[in-house]
């Protein structure tokens, strides 16, 4: 019965010793069979790091991005990144498309396509292109200002941020009406 030590059945069997003979087998069966369905295995101490790493991979991370209060600082920053990425994707996409098929994406074809869309689509398209460009440009100037040492206080950051938003609105209107 060396296996009882590994399986941890010691207490269960000990309980059966102090009962009358007729009942003993039933108690043994009830305690042993119901209690121990799980096998344990013996591991070396170095395996503890592996188990720890595996457990760490499964752990959830606490909310950070989803609960941070919306603020002009980080909203402006991610907007700068997203507008820049969107405009660059447009630039890259058009350049690669022209490289792959110059006849389909020649300037004449593109201008022709834009000419025949309805006016509302033209205006919407202009707004969609002008607003990110204006925001990214003005926020870029704000960034360069930071690099030179200006607007670095909280007040400065907020004031320049609002100025950028105002300039973006004006710039978008100006560009769309051009």
């Amino acid at each position: 019965m060396m296996s009882t030590r590994v399986l941890g059945l010691g207490p269960a069997l000990r309980k059966a010793v102090f009962s009358p003979r007729i009942v003993r087998n039933q108690i043994v069966l009830r305690n042993v069979a119901a209690k121990r369905g799980v096998q344990t295995q013996s591991l070396p101490p170095s395996a503890s790091i592996e188990i720890l790493n595996k457990q760490r991979l499964k752990r959830p991370s606490s909310p950070h991005f989803t609960i941070y209060q919306p603020q002009l600082t980080w909203l402006g920053s991610i907007a700068n990144r997203m507008t820049g990425a969107a405009l660059s994707v447009l630039l890259y996409g058009f350049s690669l498309a022209y490289l792959i098929s110059p006849t389909n994406f020649s300037s004449a074809k593109v201008v022709e396509y834009v000419k025949q869309v309805p006016d509302s689509v033209k205006y919407a398209g202009k707004v969609i292109l002008a607003a990110p460009f204006a925001f990214h440009s003005f926020n870029g100037l704000r960034h360069l200002g930071w690099d030179m040492g200006y607007f670095l206080s909280l007040k400065g950051a907020y004031r320049s941020g609002y100025a950028v938003l105002g300039a973006t609105a004006l710039g978008t209107v100006a560009l769309v009406l051009m």
Partner: protein, 121 residues
């Protein structure tokens, strides 16, 4: 690189990847302001060199921007395969874009002219 209980490693200090890269990035961004202004004020077909300069500067600026996005979200320290793969894909794409921009500026009307025409179509 050690167990998860060791502190994180830092890249070796290097001026080309550090302060020079930063200075170049800022100078490029600052130069884009007069370049864009000049390109749209002057007639684009009469100044193809300016158009070409603007095109190259825009592509370089975009590349540095995309590279920053990759470094922030797909760093090779945490993504040992996807990180370098994404970096090299970006570099190959930028080379392709440079070729496309060159082709467009030489064989076709050029970026500023295209934008001007599309805007007033």
């Amino acid at each position: 690189k050690g167990t998860v209980n060791d502190p994180t490693t830092f890249p070796p200090p290097s001026k080309t990847h550090g302060s020079y890269h930063w200075a170049f990035e800022r100078l490029l961004s600052a130069a884009l302001v007069p370049l864009t202004g000049a390109a749209f004020v002057m007639s684009p077909t009469a100044h193809p060199v300016l158009d070409g300069l603007l095109g190259v500067s825009l592509v370089m600026h975009s590349h540095i921007g995309f590279d920053s996005i990759l470094v922030d979200y797909v760093h090779k320290r945490k993504f040992p395969i996807l990180g370098p793969l994404a970096s090299w894909t970006l570099r190959a794409t930028t080379v392709g874009v440079l070729v496309g921009v060159y082709k467009f500026n030489t064989e076709d009307v050029g970026l500023t002219e295209l934008i001007a025409k599309v805007w007033t179509a």
